[in-house]
Each structure stands twice: as structure tokens, then as C-alpha cells.
């Protein structure tokens, strides 16, 4: 008897709980679904939080998974805005068009990619050629680039990351995105920039690349030069904004069609002074004034 009572009690609670969810709600015009880059996901969330404070009837959901996830979602029509830290490829744009989504691109911020090493590593500067050699496995010892006699431990983001793709195309392949260079199989693929920081801060022979916003005193950023002679520039907000730091990439929003309604207001907000101020507080680089 007691068991019956207990069970009916539990059942009643569960039913009440579920009744809240029996509504198959239609898509709310005031809701926005944002998917994509893990680099940008915190930025996206910060924008969303601020925007929702100013516009309480809106609802913005942010999901990560990598730039590729965002693009895939845009192509499949399961998001309103795809945040990406790389450009959509022609193939992806084509697929999107085939599915009826005419992708529109919006530059919303700039991200400087910092190459980081352990604070005790004597190496202070590296050229694109050297970086390419390190990550493709041609250069395996720190003493080949002016450091100690230690095997290099190269760390990378995993393949679903736009950061990975950007680094692959612009550093390893030196701008030729169809080049043959690949990350060497020995390169560790870590699930996030945070994981890369954790590893680099604990390992003297490690080298990795992360968004400027993730750099902390636990690691040391290396000055980078595109040409072999220099100039070698350290990553910072200023050098990224004035474009002297060569590893800076645009962060993008893609929408499936010309933005309307809440999506348009959101993008306007993101591009406004307030939105760009948020970019700065999240340790990214604002788009820079025309001044």
C-alpha cells in the first residue's frame, strides 16, 4: 500500500513536471539560435547576455562545437547565426545555396592568435617558416630554432575548430589553403584552447596556439614575423588593431539570409560601440575605428 502511494506521488510530480513541456512550441520570432566557433562562444554569450538585458523579450541561445559545427548548422538550417573564426569555403557556400540559404557574411571582431610557450623557454621569436616547420614535423628539436636541446611538443586545436583551420591554412600552408602541408601526426589535438594553456603551462617543451583572449601569465607569447628577417611582433590589442601583428584573423557571423527582425537588431548591437566595447572586455580585438 505504501509503495503504491509513493509511486503515485512520484508519478504525479513527474506528470506535473512534464505538462510544462507538452507544448510543441513553434519557432519564436524573438529567439535567436547561434552556433559555431568555440573561440567565439564566450564572446557570443557575452553579447547575448547584454542584448537580452536591454531587450528582455528576446531569447538567444549559444552553442559551441567549433566553426565547422556552426557552418554545418547554417547549411542544415538549424541556426540563425553561425559564428566562425574562419571564412566559409566555396564548397560550403555552395551547399548552403543548394539548401536555400544564401549566406551573408559579417565581420564582427578580430582575433589575434598567440603562439605560446612555457615561460622558461628561451625562444622569444619565430618566423612563419619556422612555425610551419614545427607543426608539420620538419623541425623537431628546440635547438633548431634557437632553444634548448629538447624535443618539441606541438599542441593544436582539434579539427572541428576554426582556429585549427586558420592556423593550417595561413601558417602551415603559408596562405595557400590548398597546399599539401598537414599537421604532423605527432601533434596533439586538444579539445580546447583552455586545454592547450594547461598543457603549455606545465610543459617546458610545449608550443601551442590560442586566441589572444586566452593568454594568461601561465604562458609566454612568442613574437612572430611573416618574413624571415622580421619584424617580429608580439601579439597585443594594439598590434592586432593596427595590423602589425601578422596572425590576426577576422571573426565572422554568417546568416542564412539577409538579416531581419531580432537577428538584425542583434547584429546592429554587436557592431555598435557598446558591442565592440564588449569585444574588448572579452579580450578580443574590436574592429577598430576608421579614425
Amino acid at each position: 500500500m505504501k509503495t503504491k502511494l509513493l509511486l503515485s506521488g512520484i508519478l504525479a510530480v513527474a506528470v506535473l513536471f512534464c505538462t510544462n513541456f507538452l507544448v510543441f512550441a513553434k519557432e519564436n520570432e524573438n529567439s535567436i539560435q547561434i552556433k559555431g566557433s568555440d573561440t567565439m562562444v564566450n564572446l557570443g554569450q557575452a553579447w547575448a547576455e547584454e542584448f537580452m538585458i536591454e531587450n528582455p523579450q528576446t531569447s538567444i541561445a549559444v552553442t559551441g562545437g567549433g566553426s565547422g559545427t556552426g557552418v554545418a548548422a547554417l547549411i542544415n538550417g538549424t541556426c540563425d547565426i553561425a559564428e566562425t573564426s574562419r571564412e566559409m569555403k566555396p564548397r560550403e557556400l555552395e551547399l548552403a545555396r543548394k539548401n536555400g540559404h544564401d549566406a551573408q557574411e559579417f565581420k564582427v571582431a578580430i582575433d589575434a592568435l598567440a603562439v605560446v610557450v612555457h615561460p622558461s623557454n628561451p625562444v622569444k621569436q619565430l618566423t612563419f617558416d619556422q612555425l610551419s616547420g614545427i607543426f608539420t614535423g620538419k623541425i623537431t628539436n628546440w635547438n633548431e630554432v634557437g632553444g634548448n636541446d629538447q624535443k618539441i611538443l606541438a599542441l593544436s586545436r582539434d579539427r572541428n575548430s576554426g582556429t585549427h583551420v586558420y592556423f593550417l591554412e595561413h601558417i602551415l600552408r603559408k596562405g595557400n589553403d590548398k597546399g599539401p602541408e598537414q599537421f604532423a601526426p605527432e601533434v596533439l589535438m586538444l579539445p580546447s584552447s583552455q586545454a592547450i594553456i594547461d598543457e603549455v603551462s606545465q610543459s617546458q617543451s610545449a608550443i601551442g596556439y590560442i586566441g589572444l583572449g586566452y593568454v594568461s601569465p601561465a604562458v609566454k607569447a612568442v613574437a612572430v614575423s611573416k618574413a624571415n628577417e622580421g619584424p617580429f611582433v608580439l601579439p597585443s590589442l594594439d598590434t592586432a588593431m593596427n595590423k602589425t601583428y601578422p596572425v590576426a584573423r577576422p571573426l565572422l557571423f554568417y546568416t542564412g539570409r539577409e538579416p531581419q527582425g531580432t537577428v538584425k537588431s542583434f547584429i546592429d548591437f554587436v557592431l555598435s560601440k557598446k558591442g565592440q566595447e564588449i569585444v574588448r572586455t572579452m579580450d578580443f580585438v574590436p574592429l577598430g575605428d576608421k579614425a
Binding site: 509503495t3 510543441f24 547575448a48 552553442t63 559551441g64 583552455q194
Partner: protein, 283 residues
């Protein structure tokens, strides 16, 4: 030098005992670490607030609610399905080739890797049925994952009801189904309950199946329908420990503590209920 067998035995038994303790130590250790580092973060606000400042402050309320939704959804489907299957296997099935197949199928469902369930959920519920990334897709995927546990424990519970009960009922002229419904099931209920609790605890902790079918990084509001995405504790822990920079460790450990606490609580309840049944058995 020949060692006396008795001494060999003493040595062996000591080593075995040490092995057993070695196996249990991680449980204690993990719990201790989580409590030590996570308890400072636990507060009423932590459990009931939404996350703020990019997950670095605020609470984990939506993750807790999301997990609850998924768990209730999953057990809601798996329990009837599982119990009915168990009833079939125990009360109706004959020992033939088909029955062997079903048993092999159950063992296999139990062994399928969780990420493969994720792929399956993606293919069937998200894409084919077009539920999209939703609580519905996630719950259904988790339900199929839970099924073997429910079936196995329900089977045991049903089999432990003595034959004499059934025979007496049938002898009185009661039909087979009625016998099951009014005589066997009520007596098997506690065992079924235990199995459900264990199934729930497993479902609550899974990450891979919900990666592609339901989990969201940040949702500003609680889900309003079963077609919405939701946050979930295991995925939230994954996100906090790998995606969000500069999170206070206490927050990560706190989330882990809530998850493990929930799971342990469920398991301990199941263990107690099971011990209670065993001692209270009137037959």
C-alpha cells in the same frame, strides 16, 4: 626452501585484500577530492541560479533542470518498454532460437559504445525523424541506452517471484495476463524499482549520447518544449573544464560534485531498497 601452504595462503589472502582495497580507494578518493574542492562552491544560489559572466559566475540551475528533463523523458520511455520486454521473456517466451536472439540483442545494446549511440541518435531522431537537436531526441537516445539495464533487472525481479504464486492464481481460473498484472508484477515491483533507479543514474551521467542530440552550451531560458535543446550536467562539466577560460576551479569541482552527488544518492537508494527487499522477502 618450501613454504608451508598455510603461509602461502596468508600471503595470498593479504594480497587479495589489498587488491580489493585498491579497487575501492578511487571511489573514496574521488569523493574526497570533489568535496574538498567543490563544496565551497555549493550554495543555494549555485543550485538555483542561471550562469552568468560566460559561466564564470552564477549557478548551474539550467544544467540541473536539463538533466532532470532528459532523465524523466528517458525513463518514461524505457520503463514501460523494458518491463514489457521482461514480462515477455519471463512469462511468455519459449526456449527457442528467437529468445536466444533477443537475449543476444539485449547484451549487445548494453555493450554499444556511448558515442555510437550518439551517432545513432543523430541519424535516427535528429535527422530522420526531424526532431532536430532536442530534448525529445536526447531522451529517446538515452532511453534505448537504458533499456538493457531495465530489462535485466526487471527480468530478475520477475523471476524471483515464486512459481507457486502464479500457479495458485492460474488454478483459481485467473487468466495469464491478469495473473501477471495483479499477482506477479506487484511482487516484482521493488526489484523493478531498483533497476529503474540504476538506469536513471546511468542516464544522468552520460555525455557522448547527448553531444550530438541535445546539449547546448548556453541557454538563457529553460527549455519550453520537448523540441528545444537543453543544458545538461555532464555536458556542462565538460564545457566548464575545457571550453571556458579562467573558470574558478571551485565552480568546476562544484558541478562535478553535484553530478556525482546525484548519481551516488540514486545508487545508494537503490542498494538500500535492494537490501530491504532481500530481508523482507516473505518467501
Amino acid at each position: 626452501m618450501k613454504i608451508k601452504p598455510q603461509i602461502k595462503q596468508k600471503i595470498a589472502f593479504t594480497l587479495l585484500g589489498l587488491a580489493a582495497i585498491l579497487v575501492i580507494i578511487p571511489v573514496v578518493l574521488i569523493l574526497a577530492i570533489l568535496i574538498k574542492r567543490g563544496l565551497p562552491a555549493i550554495s543555494w544560489q549555485f543550485l538555483t541560479e542561471m550562469p552568468r559572466m560566460g559561466m564564470r559566475a552564477g549557478g548551474i540551475f539550467p544544467a540541473i533542470m536539463g538533466t532532470l528533463c532528459l532523465v524523466i523523458g528517458a525513463i518514461g520511455v524505457a520503463l514501460p518498454l523494458g518491463v514489457l520486454t521482461a514480462i515477455y521473456l519471463v512469462e511468455y517466451a519459449k526456449k527457442n532460437w528467437w529468445t536466444r536472439m533477443i537475449e543476444i540483442a539485449i547484451v549487445n545494446l548494453a555493450g554499444v559504445p556511448s558515442v555510437v549511440y550518439g551517432l545513432f541518435g543523430l541519424g535516427l531522431f535528429v535527422i530522420f525523424f526531424q526532431f532536430g537537436s532536442s530534448i525529445l531526441a536526447g531522451s529517446l537516445t538515452l532511453a534505448i541506452m537504458e533499456l538493457p539495464v531495465i530489462i535485466t533487472s526487471s527480468k530478475e525481479a520477475l523471476m524471483s517471484v515464486p512459481r507457486s504464486f502464479r500457479e495458485a492464481s492460474l488454478a483459481l481460473g485467473v487468466s495469464r495476463w491478469q495473473t501477471i498484472r495483479y499477482v506477479v508484477l506487484p511482487n516484482a515491483l521493488p526489484g523493478i524499482l531498483t533497476g529503474s533507479i540504476l538506469g536513471i543514474s546511468r542516464t544522468a551521467g552520460e555525455t557522448a549520447p547527448i553531444l550530438f542530440t541535445v546539449a547546448a552550451f548556453y541557454l538563457p531560458r529553460l527549455p519550453k518544449s520537448v523540441l528545444d535543446q537543453c543544458m545538461a550536467l555532464p555536458y556542462h562539466l565538460y564545457v566548464l573544464s575545457t571550453q571556458v577560460p579562467n573558470v574558478k576551479p571551485a565552480l568546476q569541482y562544484g558541478t562535478a560534485l553535484v553530478l556525482v552527488g546525484m548519481v551516488f544518492l540514486l545508487n545508494i537508494v537503490a542498494i538500500i531498497v535492494r537490501a530491504h527487499i532481500r530481508s523482507k522477502k516473505q518467501w
